[in-house]
Amino acid sequence: MEDSILYDLPTEFFADMAASSGYCDAQSILPVEGKYLCHCTCGAWDIESPDRDTGLALARAHTAQTDGTR
């Protein structure tokens, strides 16, 4: 059986996110009142996006830019 994060508790997934604060280790893209709020655990990337997929693409661009700077 393939391993999957869905077989672990959500708290474990988010514990990783919480513990990584200060680095670009996790991003959230959340729908709020018709737009999407995007946040990175580095604390230096908070933007708005018109839809979820655009937010994810921007998150990938953000981490591509910061990868290697840790």
Binding site: P10, T11, A26, P31
Partner: protein, 382 residues
């Protein structure tokens, strides 16, 4: 060679197919259930849940291998292999909690959650309950809509479920368990004889805030602090059901806290007893029975390794202690169950050993298959 010991388990887990909800829900709902996708570079993973997305850097290969090796027994997601594992380990009947269902609090749309829980319950009947009487899967219900929870609980009672899995706190958008809103649910569970089965470490994650998960420690000691912290939610859930009068109003309603140890029960009972007595001028509601009497008669607790758990019964007079394997999780006893059972019970009298290894389980789930006698190497299939 040591005598083979057998026990029933009040705490086990099954890994359902990852696409269970995608394949069983209508397309418009299936698109909203949790799914994870890895980036092509293998360095990142995104979890999509009900319109939200969470992306994280994947653990290193070494970390992944550690977790996979430590938590994935062969029968984790396969009934045939599971029964072989259980026979090998010395585990007979087991209460089986879900895995995907632990993500239920991350849904935002009541209809999606309602239908996902229904699909999971149907799957459990088909793939677990009907395959072996040794497997007692927990029912799953929405904690976002209490009305939906009652409807599904009633259906699950008719399907033959004996317990319902409940997270230690309800969905972030729902009232807490001590509120009267939950009264119809407790009344129904008592009426149809379904055990409320809390599992520790299942606090809902507040997705709207980007995934805040309650108390989270960082820095020195973080791993042990965070693991120990998961224990307390089960204790809080019990306190709410006792102090609010829910268990007092429903004396036949039984509550199990799985994986949380056992000696906390006498401790919490003492604390609540003192609070009820010393603060009596402000206590509402008044209870017909004392908190300790309610807890000792209606609350059950499972543990896997805790050396002190047996003393909750022998030294503190709390009889509802139950062993559990936590199969197949890394905190459980898979691979060393026999050593664990011998360490715990070799110097314990038979009455206590029988009570903790199968008597408490039998009291909570009458009619569930009892384990073979100690020393049985090749048991007759149930």
């Amino acid at each position: 060679m040591a005598t083979k010991l057998w026990a029933n388990s009040g705490d086990s887990h099954f890994l359902e197919p990852e696409d269970l909800w995608q394949t069983r829900l209508p397309k418009r709902l299936a698109e909203l259930v949790p799914r994870s996708e890895k980036d092509p570079d293998g360095k990142w993973e995104t979890v999509f849940v009900d319109g939200q997305a969470f992306r994280r850097r994947l653990p290193s290969i070494a970390q992944e291998e550690f977790y996979a090796a430590a938590s994935r027994a062969p029968g984790a997601g396969n009934v045939d292999l599971r029964l072989k594992d259980l026979d090998e380990e010395g585990i007979w009947s087991e209460l089986v909690f879900p895995s995907l269902g632990m993500w239920a609090s991350s849904f935002r749309t009541p209809e999606v959650l309602r239908e996902a829980m229904r699909a999971s319950n149907d799957w459990s009947v088909e793939e677990l309950m009907s395959r072996s009487p040794r497997l007692l899967p927990t029912a799953q219900v929405s904690t976002l809509s209490i009305e939906d929870a009652c409807t599904e609980l009633k259906r699950c009672g008719e399907l033959g479920f004996r317990a319902v899995f409940m997270p230690v706190s309800p969905h972030p958008l729902q009232k807490d368990y001590n509120q009267d809103d939950w009264e119809p649910f407790w009344a129904l569970a008592e009426d149809i004889g379904i055990v409320i089965a809390f599992h520790i470490g299942t606090e809902p994650v507040d997705m709207s805030s980007g995934g805040a998960a309650g108390i989270m420690y960082k820095g020195p000691g973080g791993a042990v602090l965070n693991y120990t912290e998961t224990t307390f939610g089960g204790q809080r859930a019990v306190m709410k059901l006792v102090a609010s009068g829910a268990l007092d109003r429903h004396p036949n309603l039984k509550v199990l806290v799985s994986e949380g140890g056992a000696t906390w029960v006498p401790f919490v009972a003492d604390r609540m007893e003192e609070g009820y007595r010393q603060h009596s001028m402000v206590v509402r509601p008044k209870l017909k029975r004392s908190p300790k009497e309610i807890i000792y008669s209606q609350v059950y607790a499972s543990f896997q390794h805790d050396e002190s758990a047996v003393a909750a019964m022998t030294g503190m007079g709390y009889n509802n202690v139950m062993w559990g394997s936590d199969y197949p999780h890394m905190e459980g006893t898979y691979g060393h169950t026999q050593r664990t059972l011998h360490d715990l019970f070799d110097n314990v009298d038979q009455v206590t050993r029988d009570r903790i290894t199968f008597g408490t389980f039998a009291e909570l789930f009458p009619g569930a298959p009892l384990p073979p006698a100690p020393g049985t190497e090749n048991p007759t299939p149930a």
